[in-house]
Amino acid sequence: MGLLYGVSGVVNFSHGDFISLGMFLCLALYSALSLDPYVSVFITVPVMMALGTLVFRFLIRPMIGHQFLMIVQLTLGLSLVLQNGILMVFGGQPARTPSVVESKLMILGEVVLRVPHVIAFGVSFALAIGLFLMLRSTDFGRSIRAVHQNAHAAALMGVDVGRVQVLTFALGIGILAIAAALLLPGTPIQPTQGLRYTVITLLVVVLGGMTNFVGIMLGGLVIGISEAFGTIYLSNTLGALMPYVIFVLIMLFRPQGLTWSSSR
């Protein structure tokens, strides 16, 4: 989300609904072909990326540079379309997608971990590192950073700014498809859940300073840990509140988020 905002100024409010879509696609693939989500991800990723490219080209690109609120409206509308589309196809009942590793546990000394969570952590971490390396060391990554820092100058070097924007969006959606598969095992899903993911992501990204990679990583840690500790040490509902409280506190005293002077 941070990358997308950096290269095109678009905040995608249908973010969570794409995750939701990914999850339901996995569900569908399970019902049709009995595929475990960890396997069907290889299908959902390209499919979602193709879908993302179409959405971006025809829906979002025409709106770039227009008023921010209009872009928000557009992606919110998209969010509704996705939610209701899923509702129409899959019905409103919460559903589960069984997975091979669903209820397995890992025991490290005194700590009990659920395997799907461990896998999710490991893959996310690897993805984050991969993304970071891509941005740092590949031409494509450099062109993304260039477009973010000065789109006019980037165009003067021959960078196809439009193409960078589409690819960044598609990449983002592909990552969401992976996230969907990671989050799926052990969680019942329903069509309206998209908003939850969007909000968490927005919190993390804004906290991290919108485009600061490390800041966003830190933001993720802050939100995740505050929620986890909140639910352990306080009651369940108060615990869920913790991330928001911490978010407000940090933004009050440090409106630029978790950035420092070398970044913007």
Binding site: A146, N150, A154, A155, G158, V159
Partner: protein, 234 residues
């Protein structure tokens, strides 16, 4: 090499350039002069493909490039070093240069080109890992020109290279400009600094309110009283 025929261009429906015709031959340094807002940067941006012409044609090496995208123009060798340098502030000197050579024609030769740039600007090699935003104005100008060279330019367009530089640096940069021309590069020099341009460019065009007011060899223009009035916007 470059022919601009009757170009009309502007922003948002407002004409900035009205019927501009310019010619450049290979290996020349041609100056583009004029007061602020005369249309110099608009002309350069039209050449780079950042501004779509309302009418008129641009021919490069005999080929009509009027409808080509900025990326296609860079691939043909039309490269701009923009006004104000516009280096990527949070990327290192090395990364800025690598980006300069990102177009398909220049990519295979990147390491060789980088060596050539260091040869021209040894100071850049010293500052290789430094973020471009922390460089001094003169160093940024070196970087911006180096970046343009990385793209394997055939036509290099410099927009106000002397802006904000100390006299020492200006001399250094313009010596480099002369050297580049000696090595075969064609250069379009946009400058507000009248004397500097007349000294280094063989021919000049003076733009006034979007039209070519005066054109000719530099020594002729220098003595033409109209030049000063065009310059001061009188």
């Amino acid at each position: 090499m470059l022919e601009i025929e009757n170009l009309v261009a502007g922003y948002g429906g407002v004409e900035v350039l009205r019927d501009v015709s310019v010619k450049l031959s290979a290996g020349e340094i041609v100056g583009l002069l004029g007061a602020n807002n005369a249309g110099k940067t608009t002309l350069i941006n039209a050449l780079s493909g950042m501004v779509a012409p309302m009418s008129g044609r641009i021919l490069f090496e005999g080929r009509d490039v009027t409808r080509l995208t900025p990326r296609q123009r860079v691939e043909l060798g039309i490269v701009q070093v923009p006004e104000g340098r516009l280096v990527f502030p949070e990327m290192s000197v090395r990364e800025n240069l690598q980006l300069g050579g990102i177009n398909a024609r220049a990519k295979p030769n990147r390491s060789r080109q980088m060596e050539a740039v260091f040869d021209l600007f040894p100071r850049l090699k010293e500052r290789l890992s430094q973020d471009a935003g922390t460089l001094s104005g003169g160093e940024q100008q070196m970087l911006a020109i180096g970046r343009g060279l990385m793209a394997e330019a055939k036509l290099l367009m410099l927009d106000e290279p002397s802006l904000g530089l100390s006299p020492l640096f200006i001399k250094y940069i313009f010596d480099i400009v002369d050297r580049l021309q000696a090595e075969g590069l064609t250069i379009l020099l946009v400058e507000q600094n009248l004397m500097l341009t007349l000294r280094h460019a063989e021919r000049c065009y003076v733009l006034e309110r979007g039209q070519v007011a005066i054109e000719g060899p530099s020594d002729v223009i220098q003595d033409d009283p109209r030049t000063r009035s065009a310059y001061l916007g009188l």
